[in-house]
Assembly symmetry: C2
């Protein structure tokens, strides 16, 4: 089963990932992650390409800073781990395991098309 | 390997879990989770028994409320999923999978003795 591609697992119309612009406020970041229900949001450059990721851990660590004027660009992790839709699901699991990350961005043509959470993969039987 | 007990996996002296009292402030909650490095902290009653858990997701959701005067008791999830040290590691993985949770409290005599993060189990080869 883990030979299945990420694209096949997602289906034709995966739920759009939570996305925010680099200039999003801290409140906007929090809202986007909550609405997306994956514990993370993709940060986009002005042209829609991927700039970074903000996870619940990044949000928590930001609380120790002055939130006034803080933007997505300030708290994101730039250059996040990504996977292509044509990759195998087993590669997605390996990437998350090796990097100890709970969320992984699916990226095509430099644009995030989905966010995969490890809990989803566990429930789908890819891990465990 | 997943027949191994949680206790055997943890070893004799597991790192103490991040803990906070019910009356901890929001800032104290955030600090405790960050220091514990598991993305979650156990909330304790005055007698040291388990009252609840606060995860990074709970911290993020708290931001939509007025943080002034907010305590651990206000944002914790009471009655969290727990596992006993004598349980099998496979039971821990099943519990996390079925409940879609990334962190699990190990509890003995009503006291939290460790926090297990799914990324640790993946790296140890219990999942994936």
């Amino acid at each position: 089963m883990s030979l299945q591609s990420v694209r096949d697992w997602m289906g034709d119309r995966p739920p759009a990932p939570a996305t925010i612009p680099l200039a999003a406020t801290f409140a906007e970041v929090v809202s986007a992650i909550t609405e997306g229900r994956k514990g993370a949001a993709a940060v986009l450059n002005d042209d829609g390409t991927l700039a970074g990721i903000i996870t619940d851990g990044d949000v928590r660590r930001a609380f120790s800073r002055d939130l006034t004027g803080l933007t997505a660009a300030d708290i994101m992790s730039p250059d996040p781990r990504i996977i292509a839709p044509d990759a195998r699901m087993s590669d997605a699991v390996d990437l998350m395991t090796q990097n100890r990350i709970a969320t992984l961005l699916v990226v095509e043509a430099n644009r995030p098309v989905a966010i995969v959470h490890i809990a989803e993969l566990m429930q789908a039987g890819y891990v465990g």
